[in-house]
Symmetry: C2
Subunit: 247 residues, 2 copies
């Protein structure tokens, strides 16, 4: 159970986590070394994993739980700039300090490597460097996709976009494909959703109620979501039914 996909594959049967990061199970020769320097860290919901501006001496990936990257202005306005789901990579090889806060949204377990040995490993393993570039490009695409959401979409479209992303990500986990209804639990509070979408929590709540009334989604309790028709949701999100990757 460590990290993968610094190699080409996107799944490793041996690992309980779907990793998009680095996995030591495959390509044993080069990556066995990673096994030796890995360690686990646990965080409680609400805890700050890394403070913006602090020195950051490890890289790693999320094993379980949800973490978020957030930026905060002096007056308290906050914007979430990324969502870290299990298998997502955290860290910036070659950088000293963290550029944003990383917070545990739920209880989180991370698999970490001290940065120094990881960077040495990177230097001697071109595949890892290459894979890391690809992962960073993915994140960049996701961030830019989200700029469109933040800058130009309506509140309703924003909610639909977020649900769509979580649903798609979830579907890929369960290998369910995207036909038929999709069911999942929202991993975020209304407030966290608001911070991600550049809205207030009241607006988030209202729009979710509206989508429910219009049967775009079904809710059981506050968090358990059913999406009867994924295509419908993506129309609501203003997506042309294929774009919209993100996180």
């Amino acid at each position: 159970m460590t990290l993968k996909a610094l190699y080409e594959h996107t799944n490793c049967e041996e690992c309980p986590i779907r990793h998009r990061a680095v996995c030591a199970h495959c390509e044993k020769d080069e990556l066995e070394a990673l096994e030796k320097i890995k360690y686990y860290r646990s965080f409680e919901a609400g805890q700050t994993i890394i403070w913006s501006g602090d020195p950051m001496n490890f890289v790693g990936s999320v094993v379980s739980g949800i973490a978020s990257l957030t930026q905060t202005m002096e007056d308290g306005r906050t914007q979430m700039v990324g969502l870290l789901l299990p298998s997502d990579f955290v860290g910036r090889p070659g950088r000293e300090t963290a550029p944003y806060d990383v917070q545990a949204t739920t209880d989180v377990v991370m698999c970490c490597f001290r940065k120094k040995p990881f960077e040495e490993m990177m230097a001697s393993t071109p595949h890892i460097a290459h894979r890391l570039l690809q992962m960073t490009l993915d994140e960049l695409d996701a961030a830019r996709e989200w700029m469109l959401v933040l800058g130009r979409k309506t509140a309703r479209e924003k909610i639909a976009s977020l649900l769509s992303i979580i649903a798609r990500r979830d579907a890929s986990v369960n290998k369910t494909g995207i036909t038929g209804p999709i069911v999942f639990d929202l991993p975020l509070t209304r407030e966290a959703m608001a911070d991600y979408l550049g809205l207030t929590l009241e607006t988030v709540s209202r729009q979710i109620s509206a989508l429910k009334k219009d049967t775009v989604i079904t809710l059981e309790g506050k968090r358990h979501v059913t999406i009867p028709d994924m295509g419908r949701l993506m129309e609501e999100a203003g997506d042309d039914a294929d774009g919209g990757f993100l996180v």
Copy 2:
């Protein structure tokens, strides 16, 4: 005159462009090969350099002029997701197609390399791969910084943020430092600014007028800007006077 900074330095006296990309003047041994495969392309203002979704068979950097990365929804709403100033790198090693439109905002000259040989060069030159990762991380930081602008800042703060970025970038070009007044020409129309900031052009115009009235900036004509006090502008932008890199 080519590209640099796949190496450590951030400036090369021989080159008329400040490059943050790849420059063949330094580290001649490895990079001379780049000289052989480089070529120039010119574009007129308004021209689309690359269409979203099209195959992209080159990488390169802007030599002169301004280009923009934009995403457009079916109904025409557009969001600029990046601004390319001289020396900025364009391209995605390892990716087949372009994820957004690249448009020439002014007349643009680019220095290009066919992707295939560039990627081969990358594979055999770890420094280049490393530098490319660092550049991509910079872009990622910039994109996430901009997410805060788009999601949480007021119209006035957005304008101030944009001016601040252009001013800072411009100051670094002229090695002027950031003391004393800063003078530059806006390289964007009001509409382009609006697309970058997630506003309408009318709001952009109004807020610029307001900043002018409050003597945060001075305007001669429509485009020539003087910033008497950079600190003041950054306060207006809501920045804590050091963050806010971008572009």
